[in-house]
Symmetry: C2
Subunit: 153 residues, 2 copies
Amino acid sequence: MKKVADIINRAEQNCKIRGSRLTHKRKQVLSSLIQAEKALSAYELLDIYKAEFGQTIPAMSMYRILDFLQGEHLVHKLNLANKYIACAHISCDHSHAVPQFLICSKCQKVEEISIGRSTITKLQKNVENAGFRLVTPQLEMNCICENCVVNAA
Amino acid sequence: MKKVADIINRAEQNCKIRGSRLTHKRKQVLSSLIQAEKALSAYELLDIYKAEFGQTIPAMSMYRILDFLQGEHLVHKLNLANKYIACAHISCDHSHAVPQFLICSKCQKVEEISIGRSTITKLQKNVENAGFRLVTPQLEMNCICENCVVNAA
DNA sequence: CAAAAATTGATATGTTGTAACATATCAATT
DNA sequence: AATTGATATGTTACAACATATCAATTTTTG
C-alpha cells in the first residue's frame, strides 16, 4: 500500500505528460476518494470536502472535477449506484483490462475485479448477435457481499 | 403477438393466485408499458397516463405501481437508464432465464436478450471468488445499436 | 356491518445532475 | 510588469428522478 501523497504525485506527473493539470482542488478530491476506499456520491464528496478542507465548493465544480478525474482514468463512475470510486490500479504502470464492479446492495461496498477475456468475448458475441455493440464492456453487478450475507442470516 | 387485453387478463389471474391485486390503475400503467414497446421513465408514464386516461396521478402513485409490477415480474427496472420496461416474456407460461438488457446510449432503444448459461456461470464464479454473491445476474449493458452506429458514421 | 388491511391521494422534500453564463487563475509571451 | 489566451472555477437556475409522511378511500374479512 503506497502512501496517498506518492500516488497523487505520480498521477500529477502522468497528467502533465498528457498535457492536463491536476490542480489543487482536483488533488484534494482525488485524495478524499483514495482514502475513503469506497464509492462516494458527488454530494457526499462535497460534505467531505467541506469537513476536511474547510471550504464549500459548488456542486457543479465537483461534477467537473469528477469528470476530469474520469477522463484521466483516475476515477471510475459507477452508473448503477451514481457513485464514484478511485481506480484500484491508480498506482500501477501497466495498462489494464476493462474493470468490472461488484456493488453490495446492502452496505454499498464495492469491489473492482477483472473477468477473463473469454467470458467477455462471449458476452460481446451475444450482444452483437442482437444487433448492438458494447460501448465499453464495463459491467456493474448488483451483489451481496459475504459480510452482509452472514449478518442477514 | 397477443392482444394487450389478453395479456392483462392473464396477468390478473396470476396475481390473484399469488394473493395480490392488479387494480385498475395498475392495469392501465401496465397496458401503457406494453403498448409503448420501449423503456419509459416514471415521469414519462405520468404524462402518458394523463394523455391516455385523462387523469393526473401523483408521482408517488406511479412509483408504487411500478414497484408492484416489478414485484409481480411484469415489469423490469433498468437501473442504468432509470426507466421501466414491460417484461418481454410477460405472456409466456414457462419460467425464464434472468434477462439481460442492452441499452443504446444514443437513442435509448432497449433490447432484452438471454445469455448462455455457461457464460453466466463463469461470471458468477468470478464474482464468488471475490467474496460476493450476485443478487440477480441481470446485466445492463451500455451499447450502441446498429442504427446509431450507421447514422453516426 | 365493523374492524383491519391494502390502496391511493396530497404535499413536501431529498437526491442527482446539467445549462448558461460570469469570473478567476495560470502560463507564455510582449 | 502588462497583455493575452487557455483552462478552471463560481453562480444561478432548473430538470429529472425518487422518497417521506400522513390522510382519505376502498377492499377484504371476521
